[in-house]
Assembly symmetry: C2
Homo-oligomer: 357 residues x 2
Amino acid sequence: MTTTTRDLVVGIDVGGTKTAVLVSDRFGAVAARAVGPTALGAPDVVVERIAVAVEGALSEAGATIADIAAIGVGVPGRVDPASGVVTLAVNLGWHDLPLGSRLAERLGAPTVLENDVRAAALGLHRRRVFGAVESLAFLAIGTGISSGVVLDGLLHRGANGLAGEIGHVIIEPDGTQCACGNRGCFETVAAGPALISRTLAGWGAGGNGRDGAAHAESDVTRVREIGAAAVYAAAAAGDPVARDVVDAAGRAIAWGIHLLALAYDVERIVIGGGVSHAGDAFMTPVRLQLDRYRASSSLAAEVLLPDLVQLLPAGADAGAWGAVTIARESLGLGSESLGLGSELPALALQGREVGHV
Amino acid sequence: MTTTTRDLVVGIDVGGTKTAVLVSDRFGAVAARAVGPTALGAPDVVVERIAVAVEGALSEAGATIADIAAIGVGVPGRVDPASGVVTLAVNLGWHDLPLGSRLAERLGAPTVLENDVRAAALGLHRRRVFGAVESLAFLAIGTGISSGVVLDGLLHRGANGLAGEIGHVIIEPDGTQCACGNRGCFETVAAGPALISRTLAGWGAGGNGRDGAAHAESDVTRVREIGAAAVYAAAAAGDPVARDVVDAAGRAIAWGIHLLALAYDVERIVIGGGVSHAGDAFMTPVRLQLDRYRASSSLAAEVLLPDLVQLLPAGADAGAWGAVTIARESLGLGSESLGLGSELPALALQGREVGHV
């Protein structure tokens, strides 16, 4: 006779292309992982695909659904945690999808939902990845730009669930049209699609750009297919157009960090998301501009403390850990049960890239 | 024999030129008011001047210091509420002034300090001036620009006491030099000194400006002496330079409101401060720009709900009520003791202008 103790939790990070599943025990130790393609469109297919990925991970862990205390799902879009409904996830084509109840029904375990960036912020805070702090903002730069904010240890969602949507603060009043309808939003300068379109526009359609240089069709193809990473690579290789684009993005991201610091005055601003995976190439222009702010303004120096800005390593699995975290919180498990004390060092980052943004 | 019940609280709003004192009973009814000039510089003079104003107000209320349970002070600058020290109040010339302990000693009642804009935000929230909301931002536009933010019913101060300092978010990267050291801060476009200097620069030193019109020396003098209000008056009278300045300020303030809405997603953004006392002349360009945002973006329309933005009437005494509020909170008195229930209408605004910014 087996006794099921329901001492596992499942975190599901739904990304634009991949869905990552992480099975963890109640103390935060990894029991299993799985990654599968994200299903777009029809609710039945979406639910079934996620359920199959979860079952695969459970079987890898030698467990069954009877061992699961709770499931957490991070979704790149707007969700209503209270009802478990994905209100709108543009990039996934999901609209008013009751993902929470559908998954709970299909898998037979309580399921909670949260916006992926918010869940990641909460996970980074609870796991003390960047120290035991009261407040933290996670700035995710990928297809779009948004932030998740933990203040006084609590996730701040806002009155309409829109808190932290700083990707739509306007940085260039007469700038590029944004998907939101306004012009010159932060996203139109520094998100992945902006980096790609600005580079391609600079190079010119035929590969002969404003820099007068000829660009091989392969360069253009690489940027189209690989995206922002190829723009950073081109900039590193000395391409002047890509360099301008990357520098402008870096200045904009520093501006956004300064904005977050002044608005929230958090202890940590963690930078993540697909675009940030370019690592040093990504951070160098950001750091340069932050240093300029600090050098010219004592207020900026005071609010932009040296430990404030942290780059999340590409393999940090912040999305999946965030999903595990919201599952744990739904069970009333705080960071205490992770066995963390303020004397203990921060947990090491575990895992690999899941492309949570 | 008289029994002293210590059932009064005192709120002191230290403004750049005037200091307002408000004596209130524990239920929020006004017992007395007084206004006196703010003393700059020497700590002894500062403390004595405030103490005399408090004693004057108490005597008007037929009370003595023995009736006072707590004193709250709102200061236009950086304060450390825990130690009662004014770290820096540039416009008052105060630096590391232990105002809390000095006043407590001189007057013989416990004294708490807070930044004036934060105290005002808390007061507006607790008194339900704009309804019983969980979250509220108070955007004060005067000599500088800053905001005080109440989230989930709690004042949000930030890790370094700098939360809400959005006057230094950069709006014009190559703009005017700001007092903080950086260029193009929000303050350099929309705060009082910016309105004045931009108008005078537009008119030209001799009264003949870029608009080709001759400006009477009296116009220039009025702007120099009255300040932003004279700029709004000139704009209303059709002066093209003043109109441009006022329109640019209005667009910037709408931008700041949009920023606050996206960052915090609060239920109310209340606009106050000396510059806002121009009323309709001040708000019309702001509302126009907010409407433009709403018209072009459904996200903006969703976050900029019709009830979101509220203009504080010039006579609202938000600063003095804020100071009363922090005194009440130091006694553990919440809004319940104000006799407010969710069924009750919002308290009417009381009092007159004290120029809290």
